[in-house]
Symmetry: C2
Subunit: 548 residues, 2 copies
């Protein structure tokens, strides 16, 4: 038994915790579980991606033993290139997860310098003071695992994203026996997916949507186009299986999806030969009732295939009346408006569109309340930290833990950056570390922060107005007429009056005795008031007084 | 019988048609049905409200006979002040709808100049060549009516927003007998709500959520705070009814809700005395288990009460542990992220939060597929135009019309601005008129258009950079060092290198022989390239060359 605590350090996420990156720390050893990215929220204007803040790890780089991955979704492996750039540690993953991770590292030019190891659920790894095992879990991607970490303080089960699918596409069930055996031997701490803690019952099997797919494939008179996530290898296999039964052949379109499918076929995770997939020309020229096309863009991503099909801007493929489009996904909150516009546009092009409001075209990969309850029943942990999901999900998951009998003191709701210290007989809050996120914008990581975002919000709302005047350095006299540059505030071509009025106000300020010294601030105040009185809006105002 | 067609002119809405304003036109007479506004979509940056484009009506102002309103929701009466400013015509509405309309006109200072008439479902109006009757409909607001317009071409039924609630809060059923009688006499054209055309079954009664309310009121240990729409008078009555059964008293907070409640009580549409409502001080000081508070903000509106409660910024009310908050609404697509953040923040403050994913706290006011089917069965129209809802809903509603037996030629899907001409024996597309929308931003209506929005999107994504240089008019020499002003692009305090690099590039351009004449364009091109190479971003670049 140890006097030192096991330290749980959740990093990344907004409100969510440990969604993207979770570190376990004991004494001098740190183990990283997952390395995911986040997608920007709607108010993160102009931001492309969001990485977890890994300052805590880079400051302790020599103590990090390894990165262990649970599955190949973006929010679990998407920041791996970023971590591998700063941390020189081995990465452990199952074959498919490794395959997806390698595609990312290759794209970032980091594959050659990274050390990857393939693991199976039979492996036991010794990583510093940690002994690590794996258990198979069902999720919306094959070859996913939960992680068991035996530490000097006790055994930790990290259940990551999971559901108890009783009929998974690849036939591999969540390993309840291993979980039960772990429970028998004693689990110190369970950390488990909260995403669907507000959903009653068990989450249905991935195969529960086969009926819908069969109906659509059998009744559609033309091509069927199915949009889903590029990493949703199980869904792609389902489409292949149902297509075979209906005399249709499948093609895949979209760079990331083609790469993933090629890799999954090579590794044996998709039961189809790459040459059996339709080429783009076959998608267009075979009898339409024999064609199925799988593509990206189910979340309305503007640059993905589906969005370009809806706007008629795809180079190789065009929606024609008779096509049936299936959106095999539920919009992530924040994406609904985009997705709805795409559905409307596809209807306008004459397609029939099948989406989640109409029938079961998607099923969640995350366990619902009964799945979560079963995880407790199997592992019978002493302590529990709800992971993944937003704050409301953590609260509801914590309540569920109370329902299954854990005392309040055995449950800790924390957000990213809040360290939890776990002892054999108690759990307490540790310090708060940098646990937030860094914004990726264009080529830069972390350069665009709150100040820039605040300005972008201001500019998005009311635009800007730059007011320039030159003053003679020697005489203090105004040298040139005031100039106004403005965008996003008023339409300049139709606002001559307003612009002239603003210049007139500038003259009034400049004519005041002794104005030169404080002209900048006075111009700003005067123009702010003037713009607000005239338009009810508050553009960002930047005065510039040039001395010549 | 007439040789002239009845012209249906849908105005306003995005994708939606006739949601906000629908004109019927025959020969020289125009009748306006509803005068609603829209809420800006997420990509309409900085826009406060959206009005229908009424150019078509103002150009024919002398021919407009009247505005007839169906019910008091914003998307049906919110643009009334805008219409009343430009059209001097009488407005007809039921008592509650008139009450809500008067509050709007009063706020706009237009009440004294407007001519309003209260109507009941017994009234028959002669408005130009049109004879207008009304039939009661159930919706999520009391005193709602559908409109029957007898025209020289035939009878039009405008079913607006409705459902066949079998147990409405006010006991008044949708008037199926009148609808059936109309059907018996012959309906030329039906226009009917498509909002829920993708939802199976009948929409449940408003009272179907009473059970949830009763459970919450009975089990909550502290105060119950219920957020809903300010115009949802039925929901407020339900809350009052259930509170009475549970020994709780109700208070109302939020300016628009207090105004609406006061008016509804005065008109007899709420069964409670104004003095029986809790004051703010009573909300805070009575035993919490006896308190219910109804407030606005169920859609996450940033300035509404719920949002301010969640951020701890409300002046009179504070969320405390033990409070139970009920969001009695489903987020409108586009609002999910905002609403979710509010739910998370309320949980963080220690409240229990009941929202639509957890149990039935809201029911739609719009009929589902079986309601829509019943409307066809009752009215048996010769022609049909699906109204309200987005394009996908119109398509699905049109398909339903085919299912109930209408031939394809009897159904016309159109979008705003597309005139439809209806003859006794056929229907055809007319011309396309200005049917879009105008943007309200601050004090101005229609001033901010596509060009300004495009700039705002650019600024929101990558910010701007203004580059200024002064040149001596006489010598062509550079007079002052180049200046750079930038916001929303990089954080200036940490980007000295970049700014200096940009200035250096400006010098390079200016040093080129004969640069002065084309300096502006050359600086723009050079800086665009420089910024993109360095950051991967494309700020809006505005060069200014001042001659001194």
């Amino acid at each position: 038994m140890s006097d030192l605590p096991l330290r749980v350090v959740p990093l990344g996420g907004f409100g969510e915790i440990g969604k993207n990156l979770l570190a376990l720390e004991y004494d001098q050893d740190i183990l990283i579980l997952d390395a995911g990215l986040m997608f920007p929220e709607n108010d993160m204007l102009g931001i492309d991606l969001v990485y977890p803040d890994i300052t805590y790890l880079t400051e302790r780089a020599d103590r990090v033993q390894a990165i262990v991955l649970t599955h190949g979704h973006e929010d679990h492996i998407g920041a791996l290139p970023y971590l591998c750039k700063y941390l020189d540690v081995p990465v452990y993953a199952t074959a498919l997860t490794r395959g997806l991770a390698e595609l990312k590292l290759k794209e970032a030019g980091l594959l050659a310098d990274s050390e990857l190891h393939t693991i199976t659920t039979d492996d036991v790894l010794t990583l510093g003071c940690f002994t690590v095992e794996f258990f198979h879990i069902c999720h919306s991607i094959p070859d996913a695992v939960g992680i068991v970490v035996h530490t000097p303080v006790g055994t930790v089960v990290h259940a990551t994203d999971f559901k108890f699918d009783q009929n998974p596409v690849d036939g591999k069930l969540t390993d309840t026996e291993k979980l039960r055996a772990l429970g028998d031997r004693g689990v110190l701490l369970l950390m488990s997916d909260s995403t669907n803690a507000d959903t009653a019952g068990f989450t249905p099997s991935e195969q529960s949507i086969n009926g819908t797919l069969e109906d659509v494939f059998a009744t559609a008179h033309g091509r069927v186009i199915i949009a889903t996530f590029a990493s949703n290898i199980s869904r792609i296999q389902q489409v292949i299986n149902v297509a075979r039964l209906n005399g249709r052949r499948v093609g895949v379109i979209g760079r990331s999806m083609v790469n993933n499918v090629r890799m999954a076929i090579n590794l044996g995770f998709l039961d189809i030969a790459f040459d059996d997939l339709l080429s783009t020309s076959e998608m267009n020229n075979r009898p339409p009732e024999q064609v199925v096309i799988v593509c990206t863009g189910s979340q309305g991503e503007p640059s993905a295939v589906l969005s370009r099909l809806a706007s008629g801007e795809h180079a190789q493929l065009e929606i024609v009346p008779g096509d049936t489009v299936v959106l095999s996904a539920t919009p992530i909150p924040g994406n609904e408006e985009l997705v709805n516009h795409i559905i409307d546009d596809l209807f306008r092009l004459g397609a029939d569109v099948i989406y989640s409001d109409l029938c079961d075209v998607h099923v969640s990969g995350h366990g619902s309340r009964e799945d979560l309850r079963l995880m407790f029943t199997l592992t019978r942990p002493k302590f529990f930290i709800p992971m993944h999901g937003e704050y409301r999900h953590l609260v509801l998951h914590a309540r569920l833990a109370r329902e299954v009998g854990l005392p309040q003191t055995a449950i800790q709701i924390v957000e990213s950056g809040q360290v939890v210290e776990v002892f054999p007989d108690r759990m307490q809050l540790g310090e708060v570390v940098n646990g937030g996120h860094v914004l990726v914008d264009g080529l830069t990581v972390g350069e665009v922060g709150e100040a820039v975002l605040r300005d972008r919000k201001h500019l998005a709302r009311d635009g800007f107005l730059v007011a320039i005047v030159t003053i003679n350095r020697a005489t203090g006299e105004v040298e040139t007429d005031p100039e106004i540059l403005t965008r996003g505030f008023v339409y300049v071509g139709e606002s001559e009056d307003l612009i002239e009025g603003a210049k007139e106000r500038m003259w009034q300020v400049l004519r005041m005795p002794g104005a030169a010294s404080s002209a900048r601030n006075k111009i700003k105040d005067t123009l702010s008031q003037f713009c607000y009185n005239r338009t009810g809006r508050r553009p960002l105002i930047l005065p510039l007084v040039l001395e010549v």
